[in-house]
């Protein structure tokens, strides 16, 4: 996995070098231009990722399938915010998470979900007046 990451970072470095030199200005009006930092950063990253690639530290990638759950859960929640609004999505996310992933009873999950959502509503919506996305239900 370390080698895959170093190859990906090396590609990023080459992209920054290319953009810094060809698409942005490296030096203009006696001062560094907008391409100066990207180019230098790209060069440094390229050198160090090559070094990492050659050394090949074989640390096992400690990934387990369960670690995908927060990512997938958040992804679904973020998309649902556009449709259902922030507050409803938060409540559904917490309740669904506790029932599906953590195997809580529906009652217990609902109590935790509704309590947490209410606290968030009071802090952000009522006290701080943050304009939360409302979705089609208006909540």
């Amino acid at each position: 996995m370390t080698r895959v990451i170093s190859i990906l970072l090396f590609i990023v470095a080459l992209f920054f070098i290319h953009q810094g030199w060809f698409n942005y200005t490296f030096w203009e009006n006696n001062a560094p231009g907008s391409g100066f930092i990207p180019l230098i950063a790209g060069l440094v990253l390229a050198v160090f990722t090559l070094n990492i690639f050659i050394k090949n530290d074989k640390k096992p990638f400690g990934f387990v399938k369960k670690q995908l759950y927060p990512f997938i859960g958040s992804l679904i929640m973020i998309i649902s915010i556009y449709v259902l609004g922030m507050i409803l999505s938060i409540a559904i996310f917490i309740i669904a998470w506790l029932i599906i992933v953590e195997k809580y009873s529906t009652l217990r999950a609902s109590i935790y979900g509704i309590t947490t959502t209410s606290v968030i509503y009071i802090i952000f919506k009522i006290s701080l007046k943050v304009p939360l996305p409302e979705g089609f239900v208006g909540f």
Binding site: F16, Y24, F61
Partner: protein, 504 residues
């Protein structure tokens, strides 16, 4: 002597039931706002500023000073308890604060943070009281070249935090620099790495990146960890109090960092994040317990908190003496002062002495009240660690999402948080440290701007970077930071060889 008399008259003006109540409410609100990831002191002061316009100016400014202080205290709490810094200034607090919580010592970490914040803040206020104007003049001696070199020094010092693999540490730091270049270049107006997206034109927002890289990546790791309740069942408030040994451990780091932080706060644009970082690095370099730092050392929490609080107060020096705000929060306060009909600058001390000394004395009061409120919060905050991971994971996920949204009330920031979290998780799992990446991300825009201003001033000549004593001193420090580890390594190797050669 005259200063002491003026300060006492300021206290006479500031101490009243109404003002004490304003300070108490301000401190409580500040701590709560500071502890919520995504809000931070600038937003806290901005939100409460309109409320103070109906008040007497001194009461209003006391309340805002308490809010500011409270936010600085509160920012550390979420960093310590759930590894999500309330704002960028608390990034370094998480380095040792969260490991202490994982060791079952959240109370000690919170106590250390509170005490160190108090010490750092007090050093800052003492400096403001007695040497404010000369300090402000020194701050003015820092032009773009000196500021660029100072930020470069801070970036080079990140080298001390690189972790097990220096190459991966440098790669992570450079990645932070790269992330910072996304968006419209402030000097030329050219869009960089925006890929045709309007949202990316304003760059990657800092707070969502912090929340994602510290908080969301932590959620991904936490999901496989079982609950720590068994180890923390005996957690008591009494055991969390600092004993004589603990107090001794944090006293010197707090004083040292408070002085450094205050000085850095005076400099234009250096800010509390740089204050916290350089204080932490100094402690890691000269501290007695430097080997433990990063693994849960109270000295690390103390250095970071004292440094960032010292810097937060230091930012008031140029604000009051010169009318130049040293940070985003003091810029908002400047707006408040102007709306109250005051004219911050060299004449403020002469034209409105009652107000200035009232403000300075209110900072002493705000600092003490924030400490008391902060300590009173500890027993409640300690309960956070008793919440099982099964419940913490969805709650922290929700905090990450709503916290990053509320920075600009923009859903795009939520996507940035998610992106930052996933990148940080993958990098961490492959031994790339995240702290240098984030610190480079915070510091690069200021470095780029100052360096380009310096080159423009000198018509492209490098001479400006060796044109003053300050520049030369900073350059020497940079050289030391870069080469000292190699020299020390060679020196230690030689010493070892010599010792082995000597027959027993």
């Amino acid at each position: 002597m005259e200063t002491v008399q003026l300060l006492l008259s300021g206290f006479a003006e500031a101490i009243s039931l109404q003002n004490m109540l304003a300070a108490l409410i301000g401190a409580i609100l500040g701590i709560i706002i500071g502890a919520i990831p995504g809000l931070g002191s600038a937003l806290g002061v901005a939100l409460l500023l309109p409320l103070t316009f109906g008040m007497d100016p001194i009461t209003g400014v006391i309340m805002l000073a308490a809010v500011y202080y409270g936010c600085m205290y509160g920012g550390a709490y979420s960093a310590i308890l759930i590894n999500i810094p309330g704002d960028s200034a608390a990034i370094t607090t998480a380095f040792d604060g969260y490991p202490l919580t994982q060791k079952g010592k959240p109370g000690k970490a919170l106590f250390s943070a509170n005490m160190a914040s108090f010490i750092g803040g007090t050093i800052g206020i003492l400096a403001l009281t007695f040497i404010g104007p000369p300090l402000a003049d020194l701050g003015l001696a820092f032009g773009p070249a000196e500021v660029a070199l100072l930020i470069l020094l801070a970036l080079c010092s990140v080298g001390w935090l690189l972790g097990e693999s220096p190459s991966k540490g440098v790669a992570a730091t450079v990645l932070g620099v790269m992330f910072a270049t996304v968006g419209v270049d402030a000097m030329s107006g050219q869009a960089r790495f925006a890929f045709g997206s309007d949202q990316l034109l304003s760059g990657l927002e800092l707070i969502p990146m912090i929340i994602g890289m510290f908080g969301f990546s932590q959620v991904i790791i936490m999901i496989t960890q079982k609950l720590n309740v068994k180890e923390t069942k005996k957690l008591s408030f009494k055991e969390s109090l600092l004993d004589k040994k603990d107090t001794k451990r944090i006293a010197i780091p707090s004083i040292r960092s408070g002085i450094l932080g205050t000085f850095l706060g005076v400099l234009p644009g250096a800010g509390a994040t740089t204050g916290g970082l350089l204080s932490y690095v100094l402690e890691k370099r000269v501290g007695k317990n430097k080997k433990e730092m990063g693994k849960g050392a109270m000295e690390g929490v103390a250095a970071a908190e004292s440094g960032n609080n010292g810097a937060a107060v230091g930012a008031f020096v140029p604000l009051l003496s010169l009318g130049i705000p040293g940070s985003a929060t003091t810029a908002i306060l400047l707006g408040g002062l102007i709306m109250w009909g005051l004219d911050p600058g060299p004449l403020l001390f002469k034209s409105n002495p009652d107000f200035v000394w009232g403000l300075i004395s209110s900072m002493y009061i705000g600092n003490i009240i924030s400490l008391i409120v902060g300590l009173a919060f500890i027993p409640i905050l300690m309960k956070v660690i008793l919440i099982p991971n099964s419940l913490m994971v969805p709650i922290i996920t929700v905090i990450c999402i709503i916290g990053s949204y509320s920075v600009n009330n923009n859903m795009f920031d939520v996507w940035i948080m998610l992106f930052g979290g996933v990148i940080a998780y993958i990098l961490q799992e492959n031994n790339y440290p995240i702290a240098p990446l984030l610190l480079a991300f915070v510091l690069t825009p200021k470095l780029e701007m100052s360096a380009r201003q310096a080159f423009s001033l000198s018509n492209g000549s490098l001479d400006i970077f060796v044109g003053s004593t300050i520049s030369i001193i900073i350059l020497l420090c940079i050289t030391l930071f870069i080469f000292a580890p190699f020299v020390l390594k060679v020196f230690k190797k030689k010493k070892k060889e010599l010792t082995e050669d000597i027959p027993a």
